[in-house]
């Protein structure tokens, strides 16, 4: 891999995000239009038909695929592609958008991530029983598999996890587009009904509908859109063996994150993540996922997360604030939208537009998704221009 190939060649000049939630009255078209036109306006684009040369969509369960976005935005006679990569779907769509600009093929492209799980009629994830061995449990059951061993080895408890939920609920109250705006306590988390041990209800991200959009352009053109554009320093995707059958898995952290971080840090030239990253949005589908991610991303040593959680290292006022908008915990997790929503938040942070949750002098921001069993991780590192 040529770690320098795409660094800082692409700029984000517009971001948009619809309000995430149980959007009963909104269709995918409504959410896509809302997010994309906010991003156009953010970039100062009033003629998207002329400026947007290609569209990269991310959706994990679209009803109509690429046409859903093309028809909503009436963007025809140009490439429209759909990317899927589990929970890293939005991040991977962004990644292809970056490549298409960095290689010089297009000047300006649109990335749209969306999903509408609340049209399925079920609360929580549905369990597809199409085979006999694929799904012995629900996603909570898959992501819980590190808990027993991690707790045993490092002495962490459900209370350490609960503090993550409390932090993210708090941050979510400060984000206008979040779904949940409610402070909770550690006791609320511990007393909630069990979903899959050790995860109670508040340890799990909600299901929600949402869409988010980003306008990308070549660095040289960025100033024609806005002065405070944001540079794409690194994008990464890495797959790892299914942890449920991986013969060398240790149940103490997720390999996909470790692998993707290696790529992203090499691209961005990051040697000490806790020092070099100012703000991070990480995949908190379950509280333990966020805890393990602190360690897998090198924000702290393996096993040390609980001390840092207690010390507030990752709180808004901490040394390295994580999930400043409340994360999946507060926004819910419309799979294809989530990665793009994280980029939206990081761009606001880097442009000093994040209001009461603004991290002072944020110059470098990281986003992270992990998905599947989990087997895949997507990351981005963005920098203030």
């Amino acid at each position: 891999m040529n770690a320098d190939a795409i660094r800082d060649k692409t700029a984000i000049v517009g971001v948009g995000c619809c309000k995430f939630g149980e959007n009963w009255t909104q269709s995918p078209e409504d959410m896509i239009v809302e997010a994309a036109y906010e991003a156009y306006a953010d970039a100062g684009i009033d003629d998207p038909q002329r400026r947007i040369e290609a569209v990269f969509c991310g959706a994990a369960y679209p009803s109509r695929g690429t046409a859903e976005v093309a028809e909503s935005l009436k963007l025809f006679d140009r490439p429209v592609s759909l990317v899927q990569n589990y929970c890293a779907t939005g991040t991977d769509a962004f990644r292809y958008g970056v490549f298409s600009v960095a290689c010089g093929l297009y000047d300006t492209v649109l990335v749209v991530g969306f999903d509408k799980p609340k049209d399925r009629g079920v609360s929580g994830p549905s369990v597809m029983m199409s085979g006999v061995r694929e799904l012995p449990a629900t996603p909570a059951g898959w992501f819980a598999l590190c808990a027993a061993r991690y707790f045993e080895k490092y002495g962490a408890t459900r209370e350490d996890l609960a503090r993550i939920a409390v932090k993210n609920h708090h941050n979510g109250t400060l984000a206008p587009k979040s779904m949940l705006k409610r402070e909770i306590t550690v006791e609320d988390v511990l007393k909630a009904r069990m979903i899959s041990w050790p995860f109670g209800l508040y340890d799990c991200a909600a299901q929600s509908d949402g869409a988010a959009a980003v306008v990308l352009t070549r660095r040289e053109l960025a100033k024609t859109f806005r002065n405070d554009f944001v540079l794409v320093r690194a994008v990464a995707i890495a797959l790892a063996p299914n942890p449920q059958s991986d013969p060398t898995f240790d149940f103490l952290g997720w390999k996909p994150t470790v692998y993707a971080a290696r790529q992203a840090y090499a691209m961005a030239g990051i040697a000490d993540p806790r020092r070099d990253i100012d703000v991070a949005q990480v995949h908190d589908c379950f509280t333990l996922t966020e805890l393990l991610t602190y360690e897998d991303l090198g924000f702290c040593d393996k096993g040390a997360a609980k001390e840092h959680i207690a010390a507030g290292t990752f709180a808004l006022k901490g040394e390295l604030p994580v999930n400043t908008d409340g994360g999946l915990k507060s926004f819910g997790h419309p799979t294809g939208a989530t990665g793009v929503r994280m980029i939206y938040e990081n761009v606001l942070q880097l442009q000093n537009r994040a209001g009461p949750r603004q991290i002072k002098d944020a110059a470098t921001a990281l986003s992270h998704n992990i998905g599947g069993a989990p087997q895949t991780c997507g990351m981005t590192i963005l920098a203030r221009s």
Partner: protein
């Protein structure tokens, strides 16, 4: 010499305290063994057969005969599923015996006939039943679920076959017509007087007459009976001393239908000493009685879980609804059976792994994988594997969770990653486990179970269960 070379039995761990049926609480009184939500006649039969074949070469089995009144398919063979789960040879003979409470005995007779005729040298017999009576009916209190298995062969028999006498009888005493959900019976006094009592005795007297033996010649007798009183009455009428009759286990096991007399026969074999003569009598649309003689081989048979072990392992279920729910006797909003179901082509491609639980052993680096891979996870060699059976190995639980969200009749569902001896790792559901037993490194073994019923049919796979000590009977 032709006879029985090995035996096995299976009783589900779950017991329904009969008091729960009437709405009362508590246990300690009479109970019956009931299949768990993931068990049926096939899974119970497979587990009994696994015990029966313990220490025997599975590739030597030439035939599988399954006797049951409650096989899950009307059209589709149970014996083929049993043979596949046991990973038997492809040229094994397979047949189901059904339609009668005598189906287990008929399957045993079929095996004897096959070995006698020389069409098989080693024939596996599986008798298994989980009958359904109308909720809160008298019959519901007396019937239970269970299975027995015998290996019939022409050498090294533990019990030599001596003689058999059968009677065919046409009577409407117990029946279940096509489409009926529950077993029907005619009025009890008629059924006992003209059905069980008289016909079973007729078969026993025929056997005595044929062999010149009398009741006093038998050390142990395994007799079918629909209830405890009939059991005593039949033994008395046959002239069998009470201490020579295998206890009928009403209030502990229940009448396990086509598997009942075979299970009691397994109980007799467990205790039999060389030279003892054994009596086996089964009833259903007629009756048949057979005489057997234990040989010196019986003391050489390795330990296996049979009736005694299984009766010692029990877990009372907490509510009558827990019994009703998996039997679809409690209304629910969603019926999982109406989901589209699994693809027959996927089932076809995956049957070696899903039913026989075969994994892949890398010839280059010895890594093992389940399901089998084309490219080795460890050394990345391509297509250099040999197929290995994992079902009869042990494993250890690497990590686990209790999933309260997974749709199962008895939440929460225990699931975890198991490392099987040899290194293959599989994410499996756990069954017959309590939440306080779950811990990392828990030793486990594997059992064949129903994984779900989507598509309106049973879909089978293997589950992990805590490794139970075979020598001591659990309490």
């Amino acid at each position: 010499m032709i006879g029985i070379c090995s035996y096995g039995a299976y009783v589900p761990a779950t017991r329904l305290p009969l008091a729960l049926i009437g709405g009362a609480r508590g246990e300690g009184g009479p109970e019956k063994a009931v299949a768990s939500y993931d068990e049926d006649a096939i899974t119970m039969g497979v587990t009994a057969a696994v015990e029966c074949l313990r220490g025997f070469d599975r590739t030597a089995v030439d035939a599988v005969f399954v006797g049951s009144t409650t096989l899950p398919y009307h059209e589709k063979l149970a014996a083929s599923i049993v043979a596949k789960a046991l990973d038997l040879r492809r040229d094994v003979a397979t047949a189901d015996y059904g339609g009668s409470l005598r189906a287990g005995a008929s399957a045993l007779r079929g095996a004897l006939d096959a070995v006698t005729a020389g069409t098989a040298r080693s024939a596996l017999v599986v008798a298994s039943d989980c009958r359904l009576a109308a909720p809160r009916s008298p019959l519901e209190r007396s019937i239970g679920d269970g299975a027995a298995a015998f290996l019939v062969g022409d050498s090294r028999c533990i019990a030599a076959y001596e003689a058999l006498h059968a009677v065919a009888d046409e009577i409407l005493d117990v029946w279940r017509a096509a489409g009926d959900a529950f077993v029907h019976t005619w009025e009890e006094r008629f059924v006992l007087e003209h059905g069980h009592r008289s016909v079973l005795i007729e078969a026993l007297r025929g056997l005595f007459q044929q062999t010149g033996l009398g009741p006093a010649d038998f050390s142990r007798a395994a007799l079918y009976a629909p209830d405890a009183a009939s059991h005593q009455a039949a033994a008395r009428a046959a002239g069998l001393a009470a201490d020579r009759v295998q206890p009928a286990l009403f209030g502990r096991l229940g009448n396990t239908g086509a598997a009942f007399a075979p299970m009691l026969f397994v109980g007799a074999l467990e205790e039999a000493r060389p030279g003892e003569r054994l009596l086996f009598a089964s009833y259903g649309d007629g009756a048949e009685a057979s005489a057997w003689r234990a040989t010196a081989e019986i003391e050489k048979l390795g330990r296996r879980r049979a009736l005694g072990w299984h009766l010692g392992r029990r877990r009372a279920i907490g509510s009558y609804a827990t019994y009703l729910r998996p039997r679809h006797l409690e209304a629910t909003e969603h019926d999982v059976r109406q989901a589209p179901g699994i693809s027959a082509t996927v089932h076809f491609r995956e049957r070696d792994s899903d039913l026989s639980f075969r994994g892949a052993h890398c010839r280059r680096c010895s890594a093992e994988h389940f399901p089998p891979q084309r490219v080795c996870y460890r050394c990345h060699a391509r297509d250099d594997f040999e197929s290995v059976r994992l079902s009869d190995r042990q494993g250890r639980l690497l990590s686990w969770t209790l999933d309260h969200f997974f749709p199962t009749p008895e939440p929460p569902l225990a699931a975890g990653v198991v490392e099987i001896e040899g290194g293959a790792r599989v994410y499996l559901q756990l069954t017959d486990v309590t939440s306080d037993e779950l811990r990392c490194e828990l030793p486990v073994e594997f059992v064949f179970r129903r994984i779900h019923e989507v598509g309106g049919k049973p879909n089978y796979f293997w589950k992990a269960t805590p490794l139970r000590d075979m020598r001591s009977e659990p309490q």
